[in-house]
């Protein structure tokens, strides 16, 4: 082996090695992509991930601590009658609660302790809000008490005492709810190492409020008893004094959900009970009236609709006779809201419609006369009210400069024994129809203009070429006319590649073997060759026989060529035999055409 061979051998070996190295990657030409190597069983490839540096604990834990701490402040404010401060704190609480709830949802942590905390926090807020409302009502009652205390009309004082009793029961009920919820809330909070001291204090303060309300109400009851005794003493001395009526009240069932029916009933005893008007008060508001029957009993059905969830109280009144106070509770049902959006023709507003339903044990029930809030790009813009069948519709205006908006409908559940719900977000393209039409017109005009210009250019170019060709043809025609049947000498068949006798012989062989079409094509090939030579035109492969013949249209041999093509087509397309009554018409036509084209026929 000489050195040169060895050198080439080394190169060959190296080439083989490189080929072997590359072969495993031959099927995937992209040798490396980060996405394709994003993870293994041990770890993720950070380079294939997006850097977000998200530290949500820093946001969430302080928020949760705030909830626990501010509960204490709010309850203290209520205790010391700083209702405005408590209201402001509650507003802030609600705002942070919304932020926290969104975080829990966005982090997909609804099933965690944070999800539990979110639920407990909502209940905590509701209890605080209720406590504030009840205390404001109680404060009003205290003012009225002072006002009515010195008046002679004892019925006014009765109403104060009953209102007070109602509020006492309500606040007591709220307290037991708050205490029980707080226990759960603190347990969750302690698990994630939050300080619950102030929240525990809030439960104690709430208890103190209940105790104060109790004391206040006991005083009112004592005062009422004193007034009753005075009234009884006075009435005993009167000969036509009113009989001593007693009024009872009960509710069945004492719990319910949205769209349930409750039945309030009771009995009036003493005196003449028939036909007396009894008025039912729910949450200290007059609900309805009815008359007692001959036995003194009365009934008032109550359909649960627009009333908040939780504890409620009721009592009935017949003239100056008050019933006992009863409590009933309403559980919150799930709701479902949907939304459909359509852009108005001017593109400045979006027509929204949808329906709100409650999912109760009785099935899906439409929620009527309920407020539905529409948010555009996360900002609450409009509030609609549902019809009796739970449907709502209306339109919202959209920012003029926006091309696309995200719309969502929500129901807060406030004032109903229903939970809140949100519809799916609907993305709407808000381009104005006028703008769209204008865009289409301008676009169409542009297409027409440029299309027309292009067409004009093509036509102009063609015309120029036609004119040139026409001039050439005219000169050729003039020449043809002048030379009659002569073919221009410059295009003499000097370049002919075939010999007619060979063609004829080959033709005969093909014909005798029954291959008529091939035989005909064999003859035609020579004619086409002649036509190319004479016309100087190079025909494309797809050009038909007639198209080729037209290249010498107007010249003397054209007719003979056409006659051949006629026979040729009869054989090719018509399947006719070229030999008819012992005479080969195709061959004759070929010889004549070839002769006319100036070839020498043997």
């Amino acid at each position: 082996m000489d050195n040169k061979t060895k050198f080439f051998l080394a190169i060959a070996i190296l080439s083989v090695v490189f080929l072997l190295m590359l072969t495993p990657h031959a099927k995937s030409p992209e040798l490396y992509t980060i996405k394709a190597h994003a993870e293994t069983q041990y770890h993720f490839n950070p380079q294939a991930l997006k850097l977000i540096s998200q530290e949500k604990t820093e946001t969430m834990l302080p928020l949760m601590q705030d909830f626990l701490d501010s509960s204490g402040t709010i309850v203290l404010d209520i205790k010391f009658k700083n209702f405005e401060d408590a209201e402001d704190d509650l507003k802030a609480y609600a705002r942070y609660m919304k932020q926290f709830d969104n975080l829990v949802l966005n982090l997909d942590m609804s099933e965690s302790e944070l999800g539990d905390f979110k639920e407990q926090n909502t209940n905590n807020y509701e209890s605080l809000r209720q406590l504030l409302e009840d205390n404001i009502d109680l404060e009003e009652l205290n003012k009225l008490e002072i006002k009515y205390q010195d008046k002679d009309d004892p019925s006014l004082y009765y109403s104060i005492v009953y209102e007070g009793e109602a509020l006492r029961n309500k606040i007591k009920g709220e307290y037991s709810k708050y205490a029980s919820n707080s226990e759960k809330m603190q347990s969750t909070a302690e698990k994630i190492e939050l300080n619950t001291t102030r929240h525990k204090e809030s439960v104690k303060t709430f208890e103190e409020i209940v105790s104060e309300v109790d004391d206040g109400q006991d005083k009112r009851v004592d005062e009422l008893e004193k007034k009753k005794q005075t009234t009884n003493t006075e009435s005993e001395s009167e000969p036509d004094a009113q009989p001593d009526y007693k009024l009872s009240l009960a509710v069945s069932p004492d719990t319910g959900t949205y769209a349930d029916s409750l039945l309030f009933s009771g009995n009036l005893s003493g005196g003449y009970p028939q036909g007396k008007e009894v008025t039912l008060f729910i949450d200290s508001r007059e609900y309805s009236s009815t008359e007692t029957n001959e036995n003194g009993t009365y009934q008032l059905p109550y359909k649960i609709r627009k009333i908040s969830g939780g504890l409620h109280l009721a009592y009935s009144v017949m003239e100056q006779t008050y019933s006992n106070i009863i409590l009933f509770s309403l559980n919150k049902s799930e709701t479902n809201i949907n939304l459909t959006c359509r852009v108005t023709p001017n593109g400045e507003a979006v027509a929204c419609s949808g329906s709100l339903v409650a999912e109760t044990i009785h099935g899906i029930i439409p929620v009527g006369r309920a407020p539905v809030t529409i948010s555009v790009d996360g900002n609450e813009t409009t509030e609609f009210t549902t019809d009796s069948d739970g449907t709502y519709f209306g339109s919202v205006t959209v920012p003029a400069d926006s091309r696309e908006v995200v719309i969502q409908a929500s129901f807060s559940g406030k004032g109903f024994p229903l939970k809140s719900s949100k519809s799916d977000s609907v993305s709407v393209e808000t381009g104005s129809l006028v703008t769209l039409i204008l865009t289409l017109i301008v676009g169409g005009a542009c297409i027409l203009f440029f299309g027309g210009a292009g067409l004009y250019y093509i036509r102009r170019s063609r015309r120029g070429r036609d004119e040139t060709e026409s001039t050439d043809r005219e000169s050729t025609d003039t020449h043809d006319l002048a030379s009659a049947t002569e073919i221009p000498e410059t295009k003499a068949p000097a370049e002919r590649k075939y010999k007619p006798e060979n063609v004829r012989e080959q033709y005969s062989v093909l014909l005798n073997t029954g291959e008529q079409k091939r035989a005909a094509k064999h003859l035609a090939t020579t004619i086409f060759e002649e036509l190319e030579i004479i016309s100087g035109v190079r025909f494309t492969h797809s050009a038909t026989a007639r198209e080729r013949a037209s290249a010498i249209a107007g010249s003397a041999p054209h007719k003979r060529v056409e006659a051949f093509i006629y026979r040729f087509e009869e054989v090719i397309y018509g399947g006719r035999n070229p030999v008819y009554e012992g005479r080969d018409t195709l061959l004759s036509a070929w010889e004549e055409a070839l002769s006319a084209l100036g070839s020498v026929v043997q």
Binding site: Y42, F44, N45, P46, L49, K50, T57, L107, M109, L114
Partner: protein
């Protein structure tokens, strides 16, 4: 030799360099010969930069004072003999640093007398450096030289540790994502998971990190604002002497020709044989005027 030959020789040398570079690499997880994102080649360079040594046999382990021995991603149970040597090392005042997420080192830890152990898991958190909850941001606690200047680090699919004194933990909003769905379910609970702990044993200290991924090349790229680099630097420089285990660690992983080459490098007789063969081949080529 004419110019053509010179060019040919240069081409052959370049080709041989490319081939040797190709065969001196691997794609094995944690391997220091793996230059891709899941290898530890960058870390191996850092070890060499600080004068660290690689340990191929525990019999060669000197129980010098002021020494840190790193066992990263152990891939086999430790033998009785190895455990004995390591016990002696720790009790004698050495610092043993183990980065393990599968619990392979638990037997060793127990035998040495440590209460610490790795709990294989999938610590996931809302505090994440990348858009993947398994890349958990963890926070330092307490005082120790090894976490000086370190506030937060990012770990990559860590397990967690029980026992010992926690030096680095996940945030409280973390959970062991057992079903790997990246979200917390009812059966999973939020907790602060210790990921780096230490414990004094005899005269020495054992450090236990539940995620060896912190040493891979992909985590050594300057992205984000965590103190991973400082943490690794502390590990490498906390003692005067640094030894990195290559006997039972995945960082020593090699396969194919690379494995043969590595074995050859560790065997003196083979090394001499190969060098002799190469010298003789060269002499032969010059003598026969091949080059």
């Amino acid at each position: 030799m004419n110019y053509g030959r010179w060019i040919a020789v240069i081409l052959i040398v370049i080709s041989l360099m490319i081939i040797s570079a190709h065969f001196s690499q691997t794609s094995l997880e944690y391997s220091r010969y793996n230059t891709q994102w899941n290898g530890t080649s960058v870390f191996a360079d850092m070890v060499e930069d600080v004068g660290g040594k690689f340990l191929y046999d525990y019999k060669d382990l000197n129980s010098e004072a002021n020494t840190t021995l790193l066992i990263i991603a152990p891939d086999k149970e430790f033998s009785e003999e190895e455990t004995g040597i390591l016990r002696e090392f720790v009790h004698g005042g050495g610092h043993l640093f183990i980065a393990d997420e599968n619990g392979v080192s638990n037997g060793l830890l127990h035998t040495i007398g440590s209460t610490m152990s790795v709990v294989p898991g999938n610590v996931t958190s809302v505090d994440m450096e990348y858009n993947e909850p398994s890349l958990v941001i963890c926070y330092t606690k307490g005082n120790a030289t090894v976490i000086n200047g370190v506030e937060t680090i990012v770990l990559n699919c860590p397990s967690y540790v029980s026992g010992g004194e926690a030096l680095i933990t996940s945030s409280i909003l973390s959970w062991d994502d057992e079903n790997g769905n990246n979200r917390i379910d009812k059966s999973e609970s939020l907790s602060e998971y210790p990921v780096f702990v230490h414990e004094s044993i005899g005269e020495g200290i054992i450090f236990l990190l539940s995620d060896p991924s912190i040493f891979i090349n992909g985590m050594n790229v300057e992205r984000g604002k965590r103190d991973n680099k400082q943490f690794i630097q502390n590990i490498l420089t906390q003692d005067k002497h640094l030894i990195v285990d290559q006997s039972g660690s995945q960082t020593a992983g090699s396969d194919g020709i690379l494995s043969l080459m590595n074995r050859m490098k560790q065997n003196t007789i083979l090394k001499i044989a190969v060098i002799t063969a190469a010298v003789f081949s060269l002499l032969y080529a010059v003598n026969r005027k091949i080059i």
